[in-house]
């Protein structure tokens, strides 16, 4: 249990309304199916999932607290300890590593002055090492909050984090000249394709 464990948890009215929407998606008596979205809502509200939140959700869904605990501990994306305002998750899985994630990690540690699993003293950043986030085609990448920052270099990693430090909102997605997952510098195949009426 975390030292910052709050005694109680309650959804704010907005989140409660959302939670009820999720519960309503499932047939009566199957409200337990909403446990994952509700844990996510709790995390969005508080930044992390506390023991109190687990118990509140268990009560809400008529489940044993241990059942909610099982779900919350199974998925790594639920934070069971408080995290900073910006949760920086750097992928170090194979594709990213082959594309230089070690440099990204070093740049992030340098920019934030913390190691993996630590939070900056001002409480703004938490740095985590994560497994594949499914953006291998844009490796190396990191996730901050809900956004992916892809095709990183040491410089662009530093730039993104510095921008966040200044309170700006850096542009998510590829940090180089590239549209989504298209080739750098524009398309290299099907360049002559013109769309028109089908020919017989």
């Amino acid at each position: 249990m975390s030292a910052q464990e709050p005694a109680t948890f309650a959804f704010t009215p907005d989140y409660l309304a959302l939670a009820k929407q999720f519960v309503a998606k499932y047939p009566a008596g199957r409200q337990q199916s909403a446990v994952m979205p509700l844990l996510d809502l709790a995390q969005r509200q508080e930044g992390w999932v506390s023991q109190a939140a687990i118990e509140a959700i268990a009560a809400m869904l008529d489940m044993a607290p241990i059942r909610v605990q099982e779900v919350a501990t199974f998925y790594t994306m639920y934070n069971l300890k408080p995290v900073g305002t910006h949760h920086v998750q750097v992928c170090t899985n194979i594709c990213c590593q082959l594309r230089g994630s070690d440099d990204i990690v070093a740049a992030a540690k340098r920019a934030l002055g913390i190691e993996f699993g630590e939070t900056t003293p001002d409480g703004k950043f938490t740095l985590s090492e994560v497994e594949c986030l499914g953006a291998c085609v844009n490796a190396p990448m990191m996730q901050i909050g809900d956004d992916f920052y892809e095709d990183l270099t040491s410089e662009s990693t530093g730039a993104v984090l510095e921008a966040l430090k200044r309170g700006e909102a850096p542009k998510p997605g590829p940090q180089c000249d590239r549209q989504f997952s298209a080739p750098e510098g524009g398309p290299t195949t099907l360049t002559g394709l013109t769309f028109g009426p089908e020919k017989a």
Binding site: M1, A64, P65, I66, R67, Q69, E70, T73, F74
Partner: protein, 690 residues
């Protein structure tokens, strides 16, 4: 019904049977860890892999339903390799501490590693270690040994109905744990130890005191509650080390309540191992001759009507018979086996039996529980009720103290007036009972052990008749006893004879000096202070309340130390077996009475257990057949009259301490400390509670 071939042998089984079960029908052994007959199928250990023709990969036979024309192979090289692979993975993180593990010698993993594993390990990396969890005073954990079969999680959730265990984390980091710092508070928690296929959950009170192969195993019957669960007593030398359940589908399936399992350390404490006679206000050790002589001397010249006998809750039928005959020879009709004052009469057998039978619960579809908390009074029976409830279409209601019964029920109130309302047909639950094809009423001792108990009994009979609870081929009228000796006592009519006194009368008479000599046969729940100046002869196994009050103490044998007959709450006659010998000079209780009868010059007419049992069978022919239940005929019983406006009270205050053995048990005392009165129910709130 699908027909399939397993290892070249054809078998036809019910649709929905799994391959593993079909193989069992043929006697083909398939190794398994997570699969258990009485738990939901998990399919996570992968040990039961078999090959099925036309399936590309080996399949988990425990989770694969049979199909028409399936061809299953369990002995091919592929299967052998698959099992070996699974075993190798299981052993990656399993410590090699079998020599110091309590499960060693009776460990599924050990056995199956021998049978299906490889002969060496290819693993050179570090093994994972897991922090041990606190499961309370009954279960010792070694979580590093856990192979994550999740049997314990499924048992506590499904059978016990106390969802306190879970598997947190994932993959290699998965751990079985209780919810944040809670111990396992279920009254059936001991079964987790049996279910655990490895040594992750072991018997804490007995830890490190035995090796499985040193123990002498005796099949016997439990007497800690009125169910008569089948048990196996494991003893080393003359010491009972542990008690385990045996399979008896009619009673306990394969479960056992924690009191029955763990109170066995009470068999070693507070024991009466020699005779005592009170001289100058103190109990002085004496020989058998002196002790029996002292009783005979005191009885000399005392009229029969001034002598009385009270039987305790664990007194066997042999002793009851001998005591009854002895009292008859003394000319006394003052005898009673209903220490708690339950208003049950010996006449109509159906009036005091659990007529539906325990297995019969599974057929029932509605139940009204009156003045009982089956979870505390008969934990294993409660598990059966829960099993029935889980199957669906089961309506339950409770009249009595509010309780957490681990299955959904409607609480109708705790006043006898509610029962009267239902009986009069003015309550909605009357309609439920009436409308149900197989309705049940369970009447607890909390409803009967009170002034107006006879009226409550009469009311319940009226309700049973009015609501069609008793009809051709179905008797849904049930009395749930808490004492192992009660039904036997009633069957032997160990109740006041013509003009005789009952327990209250005996105590009252003793206080007034009208009763001079009181025999307590293991009876410790009588109001000892009320016995006044009476000369008390205590015959029993433990130095409990009775022995403290006694003028003569005669040491008897506990249920593990004799072959004795008990009748369970269903009316099933069963016999315990001698596992160890009584301590010191203690003797089987009926033999003590036989010897006393000689000293009194009125010898009882039997010298051997067989003669005594013949005598029992002449007193009541039910004693002629063991291990069977015969339906009892319905009749008129109970009393007319108003019921008092006093709420029903719990029959048992503390689940962990109900009798001299459990009161002497250190383990049970620890449980009381850890869990309070048990079952998370009937906690009497004090003024400081919110």
């Amino acid at each position: 019904m699908p027909k399939l071939t397993i290892d070249g042998r054809e078998v036809e089984v019910e649709a929905g049977t799994t391959i593993l079960q079909a193989a069992e029908v043929l006697g083909i052994e398939i190794p398994r860890f997570c699969y258990h007959e009485r738990l939901a199928i998990a399919g996570n250990c992968r040990m039961c892999l078999v090959e099925v023709e036309k399936m590309p990969k080996p399949v988990a036979s425990c989770a694969m339903p049979v199909g028409e024309g399936m061809v299953v192979k369990t002995t091919t090289p592929t299967v052998r390799k698959a099992r070996q692979g699974v075993m190798e993975f299981l052993l990656i993180n399993h410590p090699l501490d079998c020599p110091i593990c309590d499960q060693g010698g009776e460990c599924d993993l050990q056995d199956q590693a021998m049978a299906y594993g490889a002969d060496r390990s290819r693993y050179h990396e570090h093994k994972r270690a897991v922090v041990d969890k606190d499961f309370g005073p009954l279960i010792k954990t070694f979580m590093t040994r856990c192979i994550q079969c999740t049997r314990c999680v499924r048992f506590i959730t499904e059978v016990a109905g106390v969802p306190e265990l879970g598997a947190v984390g994932r993959g290699e980091h998965m751990e079985i744990t209780t919810y944040v710092g809670k111990a396992v508070s279920s009254e059936l928690s001991g079964n987790l130890i049996d279910l655990c296929p490895v040594g992750a959950l072991t018997n804490r009170p007995a830890s490190y005191t035995y090796r499985a192969w040193e123990l002498k195993k005796t099949e016997s019957i439990d007497t800690m509650d009125a169910l008569g669960s089948a048990i196996r007593i494991d003893a080393r030398g003359n010491e009972v080390i542990r008690v385990l359940p045996r399979i008896n589908d009619d009673i306990n399936e394969e479960w056992l309540s924690d009191r029955s399992r763990f109170a066995c350390d009470g068999l070693k404490r507070q024991r009466l191992d020699r005779c005592y006679v009170r001289r100058d206000g103190r109990l002085q050790p004496v020989s058998w001759t002196e002790a029996l002589g002292a009783v005979a001397a005191r009885l000399k010249g005392v009229a029969g009507s001034r002598v009385a006998a009270i039987a305790g809750d664990q007194t066997d039928c042999e002793t009851l018979t001998a005591a009854k005959d002895l009292m008859a020879s003394l000319g006394s009709a003052n005898l009673d086996c209903r220490q708690d004052g339950a208003k049950l009469e010996a006449g109509v057998r159906a009036s005091y039996l659990f007529n539906t039978t325990i297995a019969g619960i599974e057929q029932a579809d509605a139940v009204l529980i009156v003045g009982s908390n089956p979870r505390k009074e008969a934990a294993v029976l409660n598990a059966r009720l829960r099993k029935r409830w889980l199957a669906g279409g089961f309506k339950a209601a409770l009249v009595g103290p509010q309780a957490d019964l681990a299955f959904k029920h409607e609480w109708l109130g705790d006043s006898p007036a509610v029962l009267a309302e239902i009986a009069a047909g003015r309550h909605p639950f009357f309609g439920v009972l009436k409308g149900a094809p197989w309705p049940m009423i369970i009447l607890g001792q909390g409803a009967l052990a009170r002034e107006d108990g006879a009226a409550v009994l009469g009311l319940a009979r009226k309700l049973a008749e009015a609501a069609g609870v008793v009809k051709d081929g179905w008797n849904g009228f049930n009395v749930l006893h808490t004492a192992a000796a009660r039904v036997g006592g009633l069957d032997l009519a160990f109740v006041p004879g013509q003009g005789g006194r009952d327990v209250a009368g005996i105590v009252d008479g003793a206080a007034k000096g009208e009763v001079e000599v009181v025999f307590l046969l293991g009876a410790d729940e009588v109001d000892m202070k009320g016995l006044g100046n009476a000369f008390v002869v205590y015959l029993g196994s433990h130095g409990d309340a009775g022995a403290h009050r006694a003028d003569v103490v005669l040491p008897g044998a506990a249920y593990t130390e004799k072959s004795a007959t008990f009748v369970n709450t269903e009316g099933r006659v069963q016999r315990t077996q001698l596992a160890v010998f009584p301590p010191g000079e203690a003797k089987e209780d009926w033999k003590v009475l036989r010897a006393l009868s000689d000293v009194l010059g009125k010898p009882l007419a039997y010298d051997t257990p067989r003669q005594l049992r013949d005598r029992m069978a002449t007193l009541n022919r039910v004693f002629a057949t063991l291990d069977a239940v015969s339906p009892a005929t319905w009749g008129a019983f109970g009393a007319e009259g108003a019921v008092a406006d006093k709420p029903f009270l719990p029959a048992i205050d503390n689940f962990y301490m109900t009798d001299p053995i459990s009161r002497a048990s250190k383990t049970m005392a620890e449980c009381s400390g850890a869990f309070g009165p048990g079952c998370g129910c009937n906690h009497k709130k004090t003024g400081t509670h919110g």
